[in-house]
Amino acid sequence: MARLVVMGGGVAGHTAATFAKKMLGSAHEVVVVTPNSNWNWIPSNIWVGVGGMSKEEVIFPLAPVYKKAGIDYRQAKAVAIHPEGKEGSDTPYIMIEYTDQTKPGQTEELTYDYLINATGPKLNFAATPGLGDANGLGEHTVSVCTADHAEHAAAELQKCIEKMKRGEKQTFLIGTGHGMCTCQGAAFEYIFNVEHTLKEAGVRDMAQIIFITNESFLGDFGMGGIHFNMGGFAMSSKVFAESLYAERGMDWILGAHVNKVEAGKVTYESLDGTMDEQTFDFAMLIPPFAGVGFKAFAKDGSDITATLFAPNGFMKVDANYNAGAYENWKPSDWPRTLQNPTYKNIFAAGIAFAPPHLISKPMSSPNGTPINPTPPRTGMPSAMMGKAVTMSIVDMIKGAPEPTHTACMAEMGAACVASAGKGLFNGTAAAMTVYPIVPDFETYPGTGRNLNGTTGELGLAAHWVKHILHFVFIWKAKLRPGWTLIPE
């Protein structure tokens, strides 16, 4: 009997564990180690953050789902990996620390035959003074990265709406809280939902709404921008995004590295090296992401963290980490099997794997401050990676000598539906598809993408899709009937 341990019960980890159990049955063991007791459909946090949904609608408890599926669930966080075992034993193991109310802080060694790291991002609020600290989000801004954060954001937004109703003008600042952030899409989506909410509340004219981003142009999205096939043009996502902001009378600040947050004010450095300030009454700033900060140890106890992990804490996989300058980057730099090159029974999926480099062109201010979006690893690719590594591991358990499945961001597309206001008949959303995620300028000269697979549009239909995805993916994650038929 083999044991597969999955670290992380989010999009990639939950997909990996549930498919693994389905494919392996009771002949092998699947264990999930994750500190959260609830599963969260993160994309709908945006709606929680404007009061359009309750926290309870976007989460559900994991324990009953794993019990039903026959998955061994440990509510704990993994803290260290010992891929060679320890003195006297060659069996690899991870060290876990329980977060479960019944045994908080208790540690345990958990052995594995195969290990998937799907621990997603550490929300690195501490990277920007005032944005937060090692304990998480600070007091000056709000976030929508977790359901709890989003609930708090909605309450703060409501306070601003009340003030505007009393005649007080308010400034809303939404965007990225550091020069090295990813996940611009979430901030993009949130700003449109805030604008929609203010309009519905009848206070839009009392609000100035500003987007602040580390992108050098609107619509970069950490992917170097996209060209959509639209109305007979190959239209840049720059025009698409600018149009959305301009239509709604929203301002934007580009190429900004927020370097300090204080009560009602951010300080930022721009790509041209200038330092500036922006005041706000309400700010939602996405933190930069880092790996969750594992340690790794060899059999003799020596620290081998740098063998398994890149300096940013993400796990090394079969990527080309020596690609050099932007001009030399190739789609083949991107990992395919997501297998760790040193320890072949360890894989990473979702945000947890270390990308070989950025997708957007690296940029820095004359002061040497890097200001560029880092590569996005959104829900669809994360789930696809989770499934692909699981299928490889299942085949390896059954005797395959090496991984049999791939999930490469240079060979897969992504669909992203960014809500711009909720409502069955007056909601809208931007539906974007991009293929491939990592541009391939050799195959698709000029744009790097297949224009037949890269599209964008705004409308009610996209909102319906977004709404249906909410229910469908929660249905799937709860392993309700037919869940395996729902694609990632």
Partner: protein, 55 residues
């Protein structure tokens, strides 16, 4: 009536340098019949994308 959709735009601002949807385009975005058609199209596009992406 195009002016209604443009009155918040000032010359030489960043907003001035992009396209602004006018009435018909905005109407289409919430026109249920047209959006039902778009709904089918978006789903088709996403299905093709998913099929192309699994290896």
């Amino acid at each position: 009536m195009a002016s209604k959709h443009l009155q918040h735009i000032d010359p030489y601002t960043p907003q001035f340098g992009t396209m602004i949807p006018l009435g018909f385009q905005k109407w289409l975005r919430t026109c249920v019949i047209y959006q039902l058609f778009r709904f089918v199209m978006i789903n088709l596009k996403m299905t093709v994308l998913i099929l192309k992406s699994h290896h």
